[in-house]
Symmetry: C2
Subunit: 340 residues, 2 copies
């Protein structure tokens, strides 16, 4: 009896914001595990901003997804058949299966999930790649000291929310930037940031300056664009800027019109002894055990909170992903695959 | 008997490249040293690119020189009268006297020069601020490893020449950029760089790429502008860019026309995990003893060479300074003050 699974492939390379027609859902036969293999069923698919980059054909830190190729992504999956000695039916694993309901694996690249950490979706968020990104980028590059000011945008999202909460734990002042009243209230009241600014405000730059009376010592860069323009004049001497994402730029192509802001930016880097440091989380993968221990402890102490935004059904992944790039989701975006 | 000295003041704020009328020479009375003071006569005045920044009124890492104020600068001076217990007539000191023939000091900010280091002008160049800039920026921020490629522009100048020679000592490959056949020959043959590119070549970017077949791991930034544009595509993953000067930009004002190169630059910082780090040499002042010991040893072993460009007469300082900004001098520019 051949079971049927589904997958979502890249149908066309987007220009600007992706459209639903840039994706295509396909029915495929569920493969049979061979000797030494397991069959995995996806429970949860993680949607993350970096995926936008893989849809382009330009040189980046990873190979682009080919047209017709399955969209990449991390998932939480369950072993539903096993011919591998180390895995039993029911085991939960973290795996890089992509946007699909089933896959066969020989065990390479699988990480068994520790049942101490729950819900299981945290493996895709606060205790997963986004959490490790926040933890390592902030502590290894940003190095916030007590009473310094740390600013992060997308502050209600999985990376930004942890950046601000860890900054607080380290004794720094956390200033978040988010879009809309609801997200701002969450950042201020639930996550406990010292201040939050709505980037939709017409007086955004002035409000950010007012929220940072002692300037900015660490700016954790996730968005680029106009937020960066507002942050730059506030950076203190010796400020550190971990550059982790540029979501506001992901949908643009080519070079925007002038003026050319690069010479003035380099002048500020020089005259204020700034550090700009790009990073991809895999550089700091060896910090994962320390990260899991520390952040899970902070969670159990109530010092780290998180929010998930769970969308049901693989077919809804493209729309949810597009919404995330437009800022309409709220919390770590995860797709629950409810079809077995 | 009142002696007469001379000084050069800022007459007008330049727009673009300074003109000789932006400076004014003045006769002034030589002051009398009071109790606990010394009278200093300048022997050598150092001319350095950073001085261009002090002529502008814009916020920078230091206070601008006021109109009518004496131009700032480091000098080698001789004690010609002393009412200070620690100084005797004939003592040579490094001092921040500015562009003038005489000054009184109470000893604050004076550094007695060690007669082991000769000629005495090295205190303004290879063993002075430019040398410390090269040494600390390269080793503390650039951190070149064996077989990596280090690129530096203004390679025949006091900072660039030492950057490349220290890179070689550390086992890296040194690629210099200089202007004109004579300077390029000096960098290649006298300083021993592995390759040198003439930035005046119409095929500059291609020639730089050809000279860096394994990409660039450290780019020591002194110039900015089109050299930076040619370097950027060649930077390897995890490349380090100590940002020390932007001489090609010092004479421009306002923001140049587009396209806006900043978004693409930030994208490269992210996707290649680049480090851009501005610095001012005073941050690393505590490394001066180690620097002096190491570089003077390398000089005595013939592993570090230097070249000076000595201009005679304070009155010629403005013209020499303007020439330096245009790249017409060759070696560390020093003005010999031949009037007592």
């Amino acid at each position: 009896m051949q079971q049927t699974g589904r997958q979502i492939v890249l149908a066309a390379r987007p220009t600007g914001i992706p459209k639903s027609t840039d994706f295509r859902e396909e029915e495929v036969a569920v493969p049979e595990p061979g000797d030494g293999e397991v069959l995995l069923a996806t429970n949860y698919l993680s949607l993350d901003p970096y995926m936008r980059g893989r849809m382009d054909d330009r040189k980046s830190y990873s190979t682009p997804t080919p047209i017709g190729g399955v969209m990449e992504g991390d998932v939480v999956a369950e072993v539903i058949r096993s011919r591998h000695p180390d895995y039993r039916i029911g085991d939960k694993v973290l795996a890089r299966l992509g946007w699909r309901t089933h896959a066969v694996s020989n065990g390479a690249g699988l990480t068994k999930l520790d049942s101490r950490f729950s819900p299981v979706t945290t493996a895709l968020g606060v205790l997963g790649m986004p959490g490790l990104t926040a933890y390592t980028g902030l502590l290894t590059i940003g190095k916030p000291r007590a009473n310094e000011t740390v600013v992060v945008a997308a502050a209600s999202g999985p990376v930004g929310s942890l950046v601000g909460q860890i900054a607080k734990i380290k004794g720094a002042r956390a200033v978040g930037i988010a879009g809309g009243t609801q997200k701002c209230a969450f950042v201020r009241n639930e996550l406990g940031f010292d201040a939050v600014i709505d980037h939709r405000s017409p007086r955004f730059a002035e409000e950010l300056a007012a929220a940072c009376p002692n300037g900015i010592d660490v700016y954790f860069e996730l968005v680029g664009g106009r937020v960066w323009h507002a942050v730059m004049p506030l950076l203190n001497e010796f400020a550190r800027v971990p550059v982790c994402g540029l979501i506001a730029q992901y949908n643009s192509s080519g070079q925007p019109d002038g003026p050319d802001r690069l010479p003035a930016t380099m002048r500020e880097v020089l005259s204020r002894s700034l550090t700009l440091r790009g990073f991809i989380v895999r550089e700091f993968w060896d910090q994962r055990p320390t990260f899991l221990g520390e952040v899970s402890t902070w969670m159990s102490e109530g010092r780290v909170r998180f929010r998930e935004d769970i969308v049901k059904g693989l077919a809804n992944a493209p729309e949810a992903f597009i919404g995330m790039l437009e800022g309409t989701n709220f919390g770590k975006l995860v797709v629950e695959i409810d079809e077995g």
